[in-house]
Amino acid sequence: MMFYLLCAALCLSVLFVVTAGATALCLLVARSLSLRFENLKPRTAANWLFAIRLLPVFTACVVAFGFVLPAFLKLEPRSTAEGMSLKLATLALAGATLIVTVAMRIARSLQATAQVEGDWRRRSHELHMTGFSSPLYCVEGAFPFLAVTGLLRPRVYLGRPVVELLSPAEMQAALAHEMAHVRSFDNLKQLLLKSLRWPGAFDSLIGGFSTWVHASEAAADEEAVAAGAMALDLSSALVKMGRIARGNIPTPQILASQFTPYAAASSLPARIARLERLLEDGPPVVKVRPLGNGTIFALSLAAGILAYAAGINAILPWIHDALELLVR
């Protein structure tokens, strides 16, 4: 029993220590890079911001469950007489708190989204639009909105006023913007970012969640135009929607990407600046790369797994020795 208790405490402690250490490191790196984000392409900036946010927890999970857990299970005698030190217990508690907090945030976001979507669905009917394959619903009522929900399978909701307000070309452009979010899994990223946000003032040190929102919104506009939507139609749709949605306050909790996301700090200035550039310069030039992002990711993952499998046995004793520092 003590063996498994120690094992769990060690994993939780390492999870906390690595998360805290990596977060501090990311913060330093991000601070030095933050001024350069606005010079990057919107999607690149959004991806960097996402990676910086995710990296500490990802690293901590790899270290805790990929190295510490096997080292302990393989090299620690089952009949250990070691007790749990106060230091280890405190760090384990902090690790457990971290996991519970993230789990609660995820549950809260999913619950809020399900609740809102359920209510939209009750008052909506499905629309069919030529060339648009995702489920599309028109929600009755006077509230103007256009939103996409779903982490992996998108569902698009349109308020009745939006259907009446936008011309077919503007509607196509607005939907192309939303589909750009879908292709980038922005709702899933949103869930992770909201769940892994840093405490208090730390969160805003590199611009916080809103910086990612601004970048991903501008990126979705650019990708919509690159996918064939007219910048003119997209801009016109944004002007119309922006005006009727004026005065509304957004929520960061629901997992829906909105066409006019009035976040605590609005994304509209960034989007408008980008659209003005697109209107003046024309559609962005899409560089054809020999390998897509998915292929690069899969190859990197495969290389990582191979390296892990090849080297794990050699480094487990070192890790086990290092763990003694935490246990005692």
């Binding site: 809020a112 609740q115 809102v116 209510d119 939209w120 009750r122 008052r123 929600v139 009755e140 009522g141 006077a142 509230f143 909105f145 939103a147 308020g159 003119l232 801009s235 016109s236 944004l238 002007v239 922006g242 005006r243 949605a245 004026r246 005065g247 509304n248 306050i249 957004p250 929520t251 960061p252 909790q253 629901i254 829906a256 909105q258 009035y262 605590a264 700090a265 609005s266 509209l268 200035p269 408008i272 659209l275 003005e276 209107l279």
Partner: protein, 148 residues
């Protein structure tokens, strides 16, 4: 979206509380929408012995305080009638939840509203600028098309 939250002591006023009803409240509301006017005794005769007289009375009083029912006294008893139709309620409920989703609601914080007001004013100016550019581009596009 101020009207979604009722002030205490304003029972029976014009704006009902648009919150999700409990199972019992929903069941009673459905009965009242069906019957149009009811007293506690009417509902009890339909729902007894599953629901106690006092349970129905308390729930109707709660719905009245939420502004979903109105009532008038007939003899010693109250007669309850809906403050809004089922369709109106569903409609407002949907808008309420859209409002919650897009505008904060129970997720929002009071600080946000004033901050966003300031931001939206700035946005409005930028939207005007973009609108001017869009109109200019559309004009050029129309001219080009007519020249062809």
């Amino acid at each position: 979206m101020w009207w979604f939250k009722r002030q205490p002591g304003s029972a029976g006023s014009e704006r009902p509380a648009l919150e999700r009803l409990g199972n019992l409240e929903s069941e009673l509301m459905e009965q009242i929408w069906l019957l149009e006017e009811v007293c506690v005794r009417d509902l009890h005769s339909k729902l007894a012995p599953r629901l106690a007289y006092t349970t129905i009375m308390t729930t109707l009083d709660r719905l009245y305080k939420k502004g979903l029912l109105r009532r008038r006294k007939v003899g010693k008893a109250y007669v309850y009638f809906p403050a809004l139709s089922e369709k109106e309620y569903q409609g407002r409920l949907t808008e309420h939840f859209i409002g919650l989703a897009l505008n904060g609601g129970k997720f929002g914080h009071a600080v946000l509203s004033s901050f966003v007001n300031a931001v939206t004013e700035t946005d409005e100016e930028m939207l005007d600028r973009l609108d001017l550019l869009v109109k200019a581009k559309q004009k050029i596009l129309r001219r080009t098309e007519s020249e062809r």
